[in-house]
Amino acid sequence: MTTTNDVRPLLASVIRPSGGVWSRVLTSRQAWVGATMLLTLALWALVGPALHPWDATYVDLAAFGQGPSTRHWFGTNDIGQDVYAQVLVGLRKSLLVGLVAAPVATGLAAVVGAVAGLAGGWVDRALMAAVDLMLVIPAFYLLVLCSPVLARAGWPALALAIAALMWMVMARVVRGQTRSLRERGFVRAACFSGAPLWWVAVRHVWPNLASLLVADVTVGVGTAVLMEATMSYFGIGVRVPDVSLGTLLAAGGPAAATRPWLFFFPALALVVAVCAVSLVGDAVRDAIDAGGARG
């Protein structure tokens, strides 16, 4: 940690963008720990297969349901597949779902929130009514409801469905921020000069909410990964032939007491991944809050 300790203030002083949020992020130990964890994990998901000879689908007839060993680092499942290889494949898929879902959700939130906040009137009321409506039914219930359709469409559809259920709270936040920005002098000045809605959104609203949106994307990746895992665990998320951490956990769950490696290794990968992402997201959010408090 000593090297990063030396580097952080230096980086912050070099990059130092307007606003100061990013310099606070860069000086936050939490952000660095999270980022390091995340990078390590991503690197592992990419080069990990090269370190270990087994393929995720290969069936080792000499090892059915064996515990961790030098031959199979994370052990094998009941039909002799290597758990290490499967965890890597699952991790990649899970992160992919998160990385697709979170930006889509945040983008949707940014657009809906900005339009509602700037347009006001009935547009605002209609959009916020839609948000309220979607908040009333828990996301998990909607996903279960839509699961037969999603089953046919594959994991990208699942990612989008998760995104479609994650944007509401952020849309409200963006709307609130937009409404207070609309009262700010520079937005009013632009409006007096005849700026159209898109101009105000692109030039004034989004740049000022950039750090908030980034924080939301980061936190959203974690949320989406958790949602995916939960869906898959109950058999309505990612399906064969796709493998995700959720499907692995579903397969390993019943055997958790007898053959713990089937459950614990994917669970560990999941928790570490989500922890890493939320550490970063949280650090960004803290930096924003600190800026808000200091004015």
């Binding site: 409506l133 908040l135 009333v136 699961s147 709270v169 895992a229 109950f234 922890c275």
Partner: protein, 324 residues
Amino acid sequence: MLRYLARRAANALVLALAATCLGYVLASVALDPLVRFRGNNPPVPDEQIRHALAITGTDPNTPLASRLWSWLSGLAHGSLGTSVDNRPVTSEIAERAGTSLQLLVLGTVLGVGLGVLVGVVGAVRQHRWFDRVTTQGSFVVLATPTFVVAVLLMVGATRLNEAAGRQVIRFTGQYTPGHEGWAAVTDRASHLVLPTLALVIGLVAAFSRYQRAAMLDVLGTDLVRGARAMGHTQRSALVRHGVRVAMVPMSTLAVYTAGMVLAGATITELAFSWHGMGEYLLLAAQRGDVNAAAGTVACTAVLVLVLGMVADVLYAWLDPRVRL
């Protein structure tokens, strides 16, 4: 204050109705009522299929609007229609709702209460060991899906039972058949321990973080300075003035939080294979049971809104500024 609550209630009623319609439409679009007739050998006669569809009112040839209308008129008479196994959805849900509510109410009260307490203590003793442990612990818990917590608890309980040589904690299902009287009560309580714990752990993690953050926000404001200027010490200023003020912004997230809590309860219940609302919805989705699914969603929406209302009452009680 009454006017405020009345307005909130009216708002909730409209939302409940809209959510109900949305649930029915989604269920009709997403679920295939023919799914259970397919792949049968010999094929089910058309006549029988049509008859079954007529009973549930889910014939795809009828326009969706009129299906929705007839379902809603049924709802007006207190009926949620018939499920695919020919049972009234209303009574099925009524049975299962009891199961779900038991866990939900217990878990929410414990989870929110403990969470707020942990958050307060953490904020007052910021950077001390208690704060560090709970902050980092809540981080890990929030990164762990509820079902993983459930599985871990079950594994732990199994080990405990093995070590004790008898069933100290029971966790499969809601009760062991065959108990009577007092034994049945303790048996049920024993079955409640793990699911409640699984739900409470997550809620404590979430709410302690909210409360702690809100308290620390208050810490930086003039409110605490003002209290200290009166002669409060830092700690007593925070406890006497900070706690209640910090709870105000939290209660504004009511509906969102209610949805989150309900989803958590559902997942917990599923993980412990309870026969609750979550299982009913899951089954309905698998069997293409439109009425059961729509009924579940409608009840959930009402439940979320009721929870939201409870939070609203709390909010109005906390903050005189809304009592206009």
